[in-house]
Symmetry: C2
Subunit: 346 residues, 2 copies
């Protein structure tokens, strides 16, 4: 359980929770149990997400299920979810009953929203539905990233800091816009950054067949023959990393096809890992990458513009509804995030 | 999320929770949100357990991950864990703050205990450690089954019913003994009952390499050559059910070995699912079954005696510490479980 939490990371959710609490005038101790719970929750979901997505690298190291196997990794994630409940109960000593219960209710909501968002995306993948609109993408991100990584940390921070309801709600609206901008930038980094920069699989979103604005824009705007090829590549599963690539054994297989009768050939083929046979390969994913980043970067530019629109909206909400908060380094930190989410390189 | 909960099942944990509450004088509404939370928690863990154990059948139907794939199944389990928090917060309206918070603390503890118990067993499997003593087995079962399925439901029921602390603690001690007897009987059913009776894989524990008193007793008492063969079979993984058995393609492979040079052969062999090559097979598991059930059933008898010892201890605790509870159908139900856990056939 200590493995992922001890790897270097941004600690974004605890940072948001603590900054929101301090910005509304809360003291330094008030947000700490909740901040710890956020980091435990997040690390639990990362362990399960890596299983669900078949990811190889997380925070510059192999993913937990590649180190320990899927059974252990699923159980480690459950263990961390279980432990996260304890600091939330410690809140009662620090904050009293009322705020502690409101914080528990927010955790119940965030868990449900993020699972629903994940389920939306997994369902699209399962149905091979690629006619997803920008609006549907934004709704999924609202749940999966918005609630989970942005809205709930600032709401909890505001409650721990004793904010009035209008201030708390403004924090939530601000954080939603920030979160959407953050996620779109995250998608862009997966297309543009190196593994050394982001600490996880390069082009991971394309290998996993994840939904991004740039990919959806490309599918809407490229020639229909390119679109058909793209859908064909996206429909294939990721290769299993414990098997040699199909390309390597292709010459052997063609030699065997002559030796075996068709029934024998069919039985052999079915014993060979089906993921190897029909899985995505490096040239296919590189081709997809060129498709999404090509045409003078018009699809990337589309995604960048949407991200900027949400970052600007976050600035406007902050100035209008949170501008009256007393000046503090915490207030400045929150406001500065509006620029950071777009400029960051990792 | 509705799939497992809608399949017919015993609803053991809600039944224990409701009976404990009513037996100490609680009203009919008091235990219901907690009982719902137990059933949600349990179904979430079943979904994840089935992934971890590679099980095929649950409650007479295919397991969720065989229907939807591992990613969906892990996420469905997370969703149910998240939803379980909501009835626990509803408790505040029904029971007031104090009891609701004590119940939340018990859920935090039960989640940690059961994950620790699961981790103990997965670690033994991983280390191929088969010199586990009966005492170690009982400690694992105390955490994995005792806390999760017996102790926490009656503690929560007692709290919801407003029991005094000594009554609540006696309920917990009673339930622990009952739970250990239940688990040992569960292990015996996996060796002796049919799939139609228990609604899950027959000999599932042997296929999964699960630790049971009868298997541990056999390993301690059989001839050393039989022990070596048993450990060899137990060390093999379960076969993947989406692949044909190795036996079926063995003739084809031996034909190919003559055609290919050694390097080509090695590459082909590594592309063939390694679980198929080295996995447990039906004759091996049947042999294990005969080993554990043979020698006049001496290992089964050992397990039965330990189960009876714990069931008798449960009766003594009940009579000594809970005998003074007013007569009710709920009190009789709890006491009758001491016999039921040993006699049940499913």
């Amino acid at each position: 359980m200590l493995d992922y939490p001890m790897r270097p990371a941004k600690a974004l959710r605890p940072a948001l929770c603590i900054a929101a609490c301090r910005a509304v005038g809360g003291n330094a101790d008030a947000p700490l149990p909740s901040a710890a719970a956020f980091e435990l929750f997040h690390n639990a979901f990362l362990v399960h997400d890596d299983v669900e997505d078949g990811s190889r690298v997380r925070r510059h190291r192999p993913t937990l299920h590649t180190l320990l196997g899927v059974p252990m990794a699923v159980n480690v994630g459950d263990g961390m979810l279980a432990l996260a409940l304890e600091p939330l109960l410690d809140n009662i000593r620090v904050l009293g009953l009322g705020p502690s219960l409101r914080i528990l209710q927010i955790f119940a909501r965030l868990a449900r929203e993020s699972v629903e968002g994940q389920m939306m995306e997994l369902s699209w993948v399962r149905q091979r539905r690629w006619g997803v609109t920008d609006r549907e993408y934004l709704r999924m991100v609202h749940k999966k990233t918005g609630w989970y990584s942005f809205i709930s940390p600032v709401l909890v921070g505001a409650i721990a800091g004793g904010a009035a309801n209008p201030t708390r709600d403004a924090m939530g609206a601000f954080a939603l816009c920030l979160g959407i901008a953050f996620q779109i930038k995250d998608d862009l980094l997966s297309l543009e950054a190196t593994e050394a920069e982001i600490g996880k699989d390069t082009l991971g979103d394309l290998w996993e067949g994840k939904y991004t604005l740039a990919l959806l824009h490309s599918l809407r705007t490229v020639a229909s023959s390119d679109r058909a090829l793209a859908l064909d590549i996206l429909a294939r599963p990721q290769p299993r990393h414990d098997q040699p690539g199909m390309a390597r054994i292709e010459p052997i297989l063609s030699k065997l096809r002559a030796v075996l009768d068709p029934r024998e050939w069919a039985e052999l083929a079915s014993a060979i890992d089906t993921d190897v046979v029909a899985s995505k390969d490096e040239p296919g994913v590189r081709w997809l990458h060129r498709l999404v980043t090509g045409r003078n970067g018009e699809s990337l530019q589309h995604a960048r513009l949407v991200a900027e629109r949400f970052a600007n909206r976050a600035v406007r909400i902050f100035e209008r509804d949170l501008g009256a908060l007393p000046a503090s380094v915490h207030k400045e930190f929150l406001k500065a995030l509006c620029g950071f989410v777009l400029r960051r390189t990792s």
